[in-house]
Symmetry: D2
């Protein structure tokens, strides 16, 4: 076996958890049942990069159940659940004779390891045993999409910039990997890109990168924006974070949230779910916002809306949800109370200026337990930072729960089928799934919650001017 | 004075309420301050049809403060606040010498009166004292837009269909008015339509009618859909109903909502606000839905989602919010508990089959007080119906509160200015306001709530790819 | 007819409302059904003083249905619902030939009228037509109990102090009435007191006075403290105020509560219900407290806990719930924002220093509508005061809803029966109802809410050491 | 060292957690500061039995900081946090040279080990190195109190019943330990009991046993019921469970709670906190109750109240909070849905009939991970049981958070001081702490939450008839 799994002995536990998760992912199980026979992904070679959790395991096995050949890496160095990775690798086999899907991920990779593993998801072998590239990408955050596009760009330029050309520690590793590849095969990435039908992308950040690339004309293949399906953005982002934010804080700190003052930076879907999560535990939540509409929503929802500067000295918990960078800065850390807790559930770790924190003269970083550090200031004040500023719900807990991921991942699966089987309908561009599919994803999750859906009478459908079976809303509808 | 006000002695009380409401409508007051000098609506003759409440009074006086000449009717026979109408008519004058705006509305009009009054908003007089039509429409539900379009259609046809051609009691009145007009001046409506620059429309129902007309090619002038501004649909519909639903039920019935089982039909913005309104009082809320996405939202928000048939026998309160028709039907009324309460906060009174209710053999309609009736079944069971099935928050209470209407009406004012001053940018079609204006509306309401808005740093704006001053979100963003 | 009703023509409307309220007061209706035949109050002459609302009407008619002879006054000059008073007076008769219960109350009495009417509830006539006193008191706040005790005290002293002896405007009226009585019959109150079996008292304030009187040895007869029945204090105070606080604010001001900052002074049961009431509408609630335990509860429930001084300049709504006096003072009024709203739902109007407010130099009191005044400061700032500082839920709305009052009033009815029929078990003192009766009150209200109660198995009851049928908790249990 | 710690290498991690917890336990830290100098517990030998968590660690070190000599066992075989035990043992020393407090507890003890360790907390050594008994007990659930009382009883009888005399597996172990002791020293427990000044008891169950013993005349020394301090029962039980219930479910199952139907059996303080915990995550909560008052509260709080039988087939999560036994029975297990989750947060594991479950023919118990088992029925249906039916918040998470335990444990500390120093004021009986101390406990926790407490003016205190500095409420007040 040429791929790495942290610990194959975890596989059995992982298989049990996979089995439990299947019950909580009715959308994916319905996909298997509905499409398993037709094998719509037969011939698809999917390179995936997405947090390697139990839920992702059910996604991967759904893709393979629909005929796909899959290779997988994580999109975050801390978020892998090793037992999930092990279980997926083993599949129907045994640790000694695994029959599952190659996974290149473990909890606590270095950045160098991360990008080395990312490269491996492109290295398929065809039936004849030849090395061959993927024909589909499934991405979360856009890292493998970026790797491929940068590879093509540098091959076109004939050289990879030196690592000195960037201050970004992570991008140095990208350059290292691509430089090695260029030296090995100067048309490698160009060849791979030529075989790609398209990419389906999971998150806001990745989607923004795709739209940018499309606008500047450098997008190499069509993309489906899964993030903006209603059943993703309004469910995963909001209800997923409602669940996993306090779960992460609890597991990391065991601190009582009730009675505390928590600042949620940003009141988008993630912020809305986060604020509700903390309020549901009895915290008093203060929101920061830059968008007047979202700020007004927060106020109408009963939250105090302040600038971070105004409340940094008195709050107990700080959570970033913005998708922007440099939200919590050194000037803020310096004013926080002793044992203030700081975490990020937005996207990148740069929402919190971790680099700046580390540079405060005399500061000491002390590990309480993995992913939980107290930063001890020279005057003895401690600030507790979760998951080193990376996604705390993944680093300190187990990420979003299966049920909400079932929504996102059913969208992913439908998007993969859509691009793989109807490519002609998708010239290069960035698309969202048709509303009928979005509604279908929701529909597949209702039974599990005991929901009775009312059916329109024909006259009522006519009155609204919609089909009885939907879709029911315009594309502009905001839910 | 040739226009009717129910009771001029109400004017003084109305002026006081107007003054209080101005404080709660910071958006409109900011419009007056910002644009009062430039008089951007100078020359506008606005025919308005919208619930004649105190808040509408502040809107009307904002339009006139910006230079417009205005005539006003209501869009609902029960919703007029007579003191508001009186105050607007009197304006800066006295009941004996009113200097305000003509208003053709009083609480409890008949359908015949309603359509007679609707016709009057078109009858402006120019500086020379000549009869002249409006050049702008401001509509809520589309009644005056419909009257005008039907007028043009029948004039083209050369005749108005007989009243026997319809079963709809209300449309009979429309036909009566248009027939009288055709006999009087066979090109009246055609001439009026020719002078109209455009219409701004307040609600879902009116907007749907506009889109339909646009699709079938019969729309006569451009329209701005104010309903779908975020600061309208997500505020007026949701937070407005959160306020006014229980207010209406309380004033109508004085019944304890806590502990009761309330069914909310529909989980759109109005349904979301209604469910929150009832839950905030301790009711157990059950939602009915036809759209799987909204149904899933309701479930994730902790509501039971059932078909009406499944719960009609045990629930205490039934509220329709759908914008569809025939939601609560005779078959439901027959199964309800004694003293069940039924009301509508959606749009038209046909959400509840009032006609069918009245036809149940042996049923007696007994007025408890105005807008509150108990329908007594032959077996003695009573069902309490609010506002005869029309909008209960307007019929039984005072409608949405000023603050939320300030959002909607600032959108209306901006839309009137937009169409009146930049007509060339708006060929016939249905438009929403640019997002920058939407955000501006929100911004004008933050100070009143003590909200501190965070400002993006230039680097952060660049990171997101948005201007520092906004707009911040794509048009697809769902809030 | 020698007693006053504001407007007999209101009786018909009142009878309809009574009929509707009966459905919402299952506890009282169960009392009628269960005890109507046995007439346990046969021979009781009950002098009652309690807000004369529709709900009280159902109470009065329950007492008479159980055999009592009743005379009634209100305990608050603003809280009477005239149609309720009229309906009770008329009873089964007609306005011309009333057959109901004498009621001495109308909305908007003067203080002088109030105490004149209070005296009349003592003036029963027996079967032979002789003047005779009551043998039971039913009190809310202790006014008629105080009148009687003071009467006895002054008769013992042989004289009533002059009105100059007090600054309290209200107590001057008490002295006037008692002086008149003393001159008329110097042993009147002593005779009346001799015939009283006991009093049942509804509220905290009245109960405190009873305990004080008991401690100082001046209590003349036994008293049952209905206020501290769980089904009273935890229901009426909390859930009743949750309902009626926002109802009062809405009817008085039509102001949007969502998004506003509301200060609730006090976090006892009334404060808890009030805070929940406002939060349920999307207000941001700040609590003030003097008791560290209640303050900690408020914090754990997610509320900000501050001193009034710290937030008076920024809050929008101020509600007193303390049962103490001088909570909102001139120094606070002077710092409030323009159009701040101030109201009391605690008990007496002295929670707000109305007298001090009126004495601010240059201030103008302007009535917007009955029970809603704007106090205009010399600089033009307005503060809106509800119900002149008296109970806003009664003055601006219709008080607690029937269902919650059914709990309180079923306790009242049981307490009247208890004292009237088992006097020997109650030597002079202040008592609460036995827990079994408290549980019974709750039990009588469950069916109406569709509650299924679980029944203990005998082994489970034995395990807990309680009877299968209850009572289930110790007297110390806090619920 | 003659006492067992699972793993001394955990001590360092434990010391860090202790240090963090101290910040979250302001009440205990204030006790150290206030009383550290006076050493009020000097001479106290405290035998403690209470879940050996980090928070208990801070309690133990507070007791020793006040002068006490302490020995500690757990009161639950699964709830020990081994790093907490290790840290307390090590104290200021090192793993090699521990200077802390003897602890006899580790996670996952057998029942035999549990009772062997319980016996050891009685085995103090005095300054001269002689074996000596404790003079104070600190108990949670009453196990060591029971061991001591049973020991005395059997010594009086001269023999210990055979293990065959009971079906209860746990009581067999008690009999074994006492039999061994009797054979070793027939007056051992009698001697120990003679030296005990009193016991302070933490929970409902233990308190009930004490009252029973007191009523039957067998209580050997005075007891302070800490459970019924307001700052315990209304904080630990309610807010602690609000925190730790979902924490336990999340860590055990990673299942999304939002959208699910959860049944909470019992609506006492634990049930109230549990229901709020689940609702805060978006679950739809159904309550079962036997007490009509609590049932009515649940209904007024917006919960559906049903019998378990009525909903067992459709709910997803079942939580017992009753303090009673045999709540979830075989007949219920058999009707549950596949992957239903069952857990207990009440007190003993007999709330769920685990023994009955294990006896279902053909059922298989499969461990997913420690404290999480799926019970696989013959037809393949799985039911997931948390912590084998014992307290899931302790077994699956880390118990109540420090802040809430600081309230309970400050009560414990005050109660120990009270009994140890003022024994003469406490003849044999069961007492609650004076209200002034209860308020003091609350007061010590306000600063940490940023609460500003309002101070009564002297006139206001006089008006209420309370001292300015409290206590403010009667003993009957329910909060």
């Amino acid at each position: 076996m040429d791929y790495k799994v942290a610990d194959l002995s975890l596989a059995e536990y992982g298989r049990k958890e996979l089995s439990l998760a299947e019950h909580e992912m009715p959308g994916l199980m319905a996909m298997r049942e509905r499409y398993g026979k037709d094998q719509p992904l037969k011939g698809a070679r999917i390179a995936g990069s997405l947090h390697m959790t139990i839920q992702t395991g059910v996604l991967i096995e759904t893709l393979t159940a629909l005929g796909a050949d899959v290779r997988w890496a994580t999109c975050n160095i801390f978020s892998t659940q090793d037992h999930a990775a092990a279980a997926v690798v083993v599949g129907e086999g045994t640790p000694e004779d695994p029959k599952g899907t190659p996974v290149f991920a473990w909890k606590g990779e270095t950045l160098a390891e991360y990008w080395d593993e990312a490269e491996k998801v492109f290295q398929f072998t065809d039936a004849e045993g030849n090395q061959v590239g993927p024909n589909m990408l499934l991405d979360d955050g856009g890292d493998i999409t970026m790797l491929l596009h940068k590879g093509v760009e540098f091959e076109k330029a004939g050289e990879v910039p030196g690592q000195d050309s960037t201050d970004n520690e992570e991008f140095k590793e990208v350059l290292r990997v691509l430089d090695r590849s260029l030296k090995n095969d100067p048309t490698y990435w160009t060849n791979v890109a030529g075989g790609i039908k398209g990419v389906t992308e999971e998150t806001t950040t990745g989607v923004l990168r795709l739209y940018d690339r499309y606008k500047e004309g450098s997008l190499l293949f069509p993309a489906i924006n899964v993030n903006d399906s209603v059943t993703k953005s309004k469910f995963d982002n909001k209800y997923g974070c409602r669940h996993s934010l306090i779960d992460g804080i609890n597991r990391a700190t065991d601190v009582m949230i009730g009675g505390k003052v928590a600042v949620v930076c940003g009141y988008g879907d993630v912020g809305k779910g986060s604020a509700e999560s903390l309020r549901g535990q009895g915290a008093r939540v203060i929101v920061t916002e830059i968008d007047p509409i979202c700020a007004l929503q927060a106020a109408m929802d009963g939250y105090e809306v302040r600038r971070l500067e105004s409340v940094v000295e008195t709050a107990d918990i700080f959570i970033t949800t913005t998708g922007n960078f440099d939200i919590i800065r050194v000037e803020h850390f310096e004013k926080m109370k002793n044992q203030a807790i700081v975490g990020n559930i937005g996207h990148f770790d740069n929402e919190i200026n971790m680099a700046g924190l580390a540079k405060i003269p005399g500061i000491v970083k002390d590990e309480i337990k993995p992913q939980v550090h107290q930063w001890i200031f020279p005057d003895g004040k401690k600030v507790i930072v979760l998951s080193e500023g990376r996604l705390l719900n993944l680093g300190n807990a187990t990420g979003h729960p299966s049920f909400v991921m079932s929504n996102s991942f059913t969208n992913q699966t439908l998007a993969q089928i859509e691009l793989f089987t109807k490519l002609e309908e998708y010239p290069i561009g960035v698309y969202v799934l048709p509303k009928a599919l979005d509604e279908e994803v929701a529909r597949l999750h209702l039974d599990a919650l005991g929901v009775e859906l009312t059916e329109l009478k024909q006259e009522q459908a006519d009155y609204l001017g919609v089909p009885v079976e939907g879709p029911y809303k315009s594309d502009q509808y905001r839910y």
